[in-house]
């Protein structure tokens, strides 16, 4: 029974799981608020989960770990910045549509009330076509370099991020909240989404719970929870969408193309087409993922911001039990929770224990160790 579990979960996952458990148990004894930590973990889980979800289609279609995630993130950044740039125009346009087609509920009050939600939605809607085009090109490229996808993906990601660094400086953005004040042109390194869609998902249906539970005279438990229900629902919806898609005819063909390309081709599956679709999907999910991340984080990070964003996402899904050629939604959930849990817990617990912050080093070792483990595992053919 236990042996079976160990074999199924794999040693690294168990060690890291136990490590996280130990951190959670130690937390109250070193003066770290357990509930705040748990809450932070959940928030960070919600922030990152869609980005991790973006790994699934490509892994399933046999394109390997999506180290090219920055490409999707760039599409997301374009969507977000364009949505802010044209925020007023979009609202005007909607109002015009309302008067032209006589949509009675779409009034000016409704628009002002839901301005933030519309901004968020338009960011996603603008980002998707960019992601689709970039993903399609990227997929075509990966079809030509089968066997070397991961290394090439890494460098395609890096070079597109550095290319966009030039673009962010030169693109003719005009909105005063986004460009450098003294130069009058060029986007800022970080752009606040406050006033646009800050915490739009986090605050939607959020469960706030604040109470001091008195256990004894000397011990009061300070419970301060704020569950970002909307963000979790959004992730659940995206996960459900991916889950359903994987069960359609196309999804099944995609999995077949990933697990045995020769066999899939013999049964009439167009392997290259399936791979391209998977890359487009991954890129779109990446674009949506970064917008979800921004609404919780509060800032759009441009320039070198997306540079290393692929590694945590890759490490998360592997930590959740995925291999280089097989991944499920459960892997995403378990992996993101474990990874974000460690990221949240190590700084606070280690700070109180040793008066030093080792979280960066632990993050490096855990995340890259996990990827290394997955890469060196013998693939069962």
């Amino acid at each position: 029974m236990i042996k079976n579990f160990i074999a199924k979960a794999g040693w690294p996952r168990i060690i890291i799981g136990l490590f996280l458990l130990a951190l959670f148990i130690t937390a109250p004894f070193v003066g770290v608020n357990f509930f705040t930590s748990l809450n932070n973990t959940i928030v960070r889980f919600g922030m990152n989960s869609v980005l991790v979800l973006a790994m699934i289609p490509m892994i399933q279609a046999g394109c390997g770990l999506n180290f090219g995630l920055p490409l999707g993130i760039i599409a997301g950044l374009l969507g977000a910045t364009l949505s802010i740039e044209f925020n007023e125009k979009i609202l005007e346009l909607l109002l015009q549509c309302a008067t032209q087609y006589k949509i009675s509920w779409l009034t000016e009050e409704f628009l002002t009330l839901h301005r933030e939600a519309i901004g968020f939605a338009s960011a996603i809607i603008i980002a998707i076509p960019f992601a689709a085009v970039l993903g399609w090109l990227y997929g075509k490229l990966l079809n030509r370099v089968k066997g070397d996808e991961m290394m090439i993906a890494t460098y395609v990601g890096f070079s597109s991020v550095s290319f966009m660094c030039i673009a962010w400086l030169l693109l003719p953005y005009k909105h005063p909240t986004m460009i450098w004040g003294y130069a009058g042109h060029g986007l800022r390194t970080t752009i606040s989404v406050d006033g646009y869609w800050l915490h739009i998902l986090n605050d939607w249906l959020a469960i706030n719970f604040k109470e001091d539970i008195v256990l004894s005279d000397s011990l009061t438990l300070n419970v301060n929870l704020s569950i970002p229900t909307g963000m979790l629902i959004f992730f659940a919806a995206m996960a459900l969408f991916v889950w359903l898609f994987m069960r359609t005819k196309t999804g099944t063909a995609m999995t077949a193309a990933g697990s045995n390309p020769e066999f899939a081709r013999a049964s009439g599956v167009n392997v290259d087409k399936m791979r391209t679709i998977s890359v487009v999907m991954s890129t779109i999910l990446g674009a949506v993922g970064i917008i979800v991340y921004q609404q919780s984080f509060g800032f759009i990070q441009l320039y070198m911001g997306p540079f290393y964003m692929a590694l945590p996402a890759v490490a998360s899904i592997l930590l959740g039990g995925a291999s280089v050629n097989k991944a499920t939604i459960l892997n995403v959930i378990v992996g993101t929770f474990l990874f974000q849990g460690i990221l949240t817990m190590t700084p606070s617990v280690f700070n109180s224990l040793f008066q030093t912050d080792m979280s960066e080093v632990i993050r490096l070792i855990v995340s890259n160790g996990m990827i290394l483990y997955a890469l060196t595992r013998k693939v069962r053919a």
Partner: protein, 390 residues
């Protein structure tokens, strides 16, 4: 015919693009020829050894050794320790090598074993291994140096009492190898002026008639690099070198010919790691400061980009590629920010362009290589199928 043309273009596309970019950027930057030559000579001396360390794994068919950062880390640990012990000059460099060598050998063996478990994806694995070891390196340097590994020199340590500072001055060994045999080229007119300024020191002075200004040459470093090139040429002809080439051709054929494939591959990585360790020490003696937490990362990225810019591919690299690459890469490195500033009015654009090109070139070279390999496989399959039909 067209295919052949495509092959030739693909083989030389990267250096050609760079020559074109440089041809535009050099006049735009407005630097003088003398300045450019001086800078290039310094940078060849600084970087060539590191890049040469990449050649042997390519010979053994293991692709670009992104794990060379492991060697660089070993070298840096050696340098940190000699800084603490205050050993200066050439003895300092030699003792840094002496400390670095065993660490590099152990890391190399480790890396080799890992890569043997990940055949077919050596590059991405060695790349991630670099990140992983970076974590371990930080653990050692940031937390263990001080309490576990004794560091007595307070100027090395962070104010909290343990862990090494972000920037460490290597004043003890700065330019020690470069200036071991001081050599200067001057024009006939500049000679007297130069001698007046540097009257108290001795130089090998080379006078060229139609030359202006003075150029210093790091002769001793060049001699070391030349010796290394000779070593590589010799190594290719040894039994081990031949074994490596056989392994690169086909692991199964090499195995049936009685070559210990895995062992040969590990040796290739160990040699590369140890040489990268020496390369990093040479690199840092030229720089004079050690960026404790960044230097090794940059070393790996820049060396690989430079080698590929020189026209090397994942499966084939020569000594000529190294030197062409280091010249073209650094030429762009020097002129891009100035060119960007003069062209668009922002040096930042040139800076980003430089980063973009370094990564873009690696991506392009990897794509071209994989593409070519897949096309060859496809062609082989087609000929086989047609042969079966007959």
């Amino acid at each position: 015919m067209i295919r052949k043309f495509f092959d030739i273009v693909a083989a030389n596309a990267v250096p050609a693009v760079f020559i074109i970019i440089s041809a535009f950027a050099i006049p735009l930057s407005g630097f003088s020829t003398g300045y450019l030559i001086q800078e290039l000579l310094t940078r060849i001396g600084r970087n060539a050894f590191l890049i040469l360390s990449l050649l042997i794994p390519i010979m053994a068919g293991m692709g670009l050794n992104f794990g060379m950062v492991l060697g660089a880390m070993a070298g840096q640990i050696g340098l940190l320790l000699i800084c603490d012990w205050k050993i200066a000059g050439i003895p300092g460099m030699l003792s840094a090598c002496l400390i670095g060598t065993p660490i590099a050998i152990i890391l190399g063996i480790f890396c080799g074993h890992i890569l043997n478990r990940a055949k077919g994806r050596e590059m991405v694995t060695s790349y991630i291994l670099g990140f992983f070891m970076n974590g371990i390196y930080q653990l050692v340097v940031l937390y263990l140096m001080g309490p576990v590994i004794p560091i007595t020199n307070p100027s090395l340590l962070l104010s909290r009492g343990y862990g090494v500072r972000n920037a460490v001055s290597l004043s003890g060994i700065r330019a020690q190898l470069d200036n071991l045999i001081p050599t200067v080229i001057t024009g006939t007119e500049g000679t007297q002026q130069f001698l007046n300024i540097n009257a108290d020191s001795s130089f090998f002075l080379i006078q060229l008639p139609f030359f202006e200004g003075t150029i210093k040459i790091p002769l001793a470093t060049f001699i070391v690099i030349a010796l290394f090139c000779v070593f590589i040429i010799w190594f290719r002809k040894t039994k081990l070198g031949q074994d490596m080439r056989a392994v690169a051709q086909s692991q199964s054929v090499a195995d049936s010919a009685g070559i210990a494939v895995n062992r040969t591959r590990i040796i290739a990585i160990v040699i590369s790691t140890v040489l990268a360790c020496y390369g990093q020490i040479i690199y840092l003696q030229n720089m004079g400061t050690l960026n404790t937490y960044n230097s090794h990362d940059q070393a790996g990225m820049f060396s690989i980009a430079a080698l590929l810019i020189g026209g090397a591919s994942v499966s084939h690299a020569s000594i000529a590629n190294v030197f062409v690459g280091v010249i073209l890469f650094h030429l762009m490195f020097i002129v891009a920010p100035m060119a960007g500033k003069n062209l668009i009015g922002e040096a930042q654009i040139g800076e980003y362009f430089r980063v973009f090109v370094s990564y873009g070139v690696i991506a392009l070279a990897l794509v071209l290589h994989a593409w070519k390999r897949n096309r060859e496989q496809e062609a082989n399959r087609r000929t086989l199928r047609e042969a079966l039909k007959k």
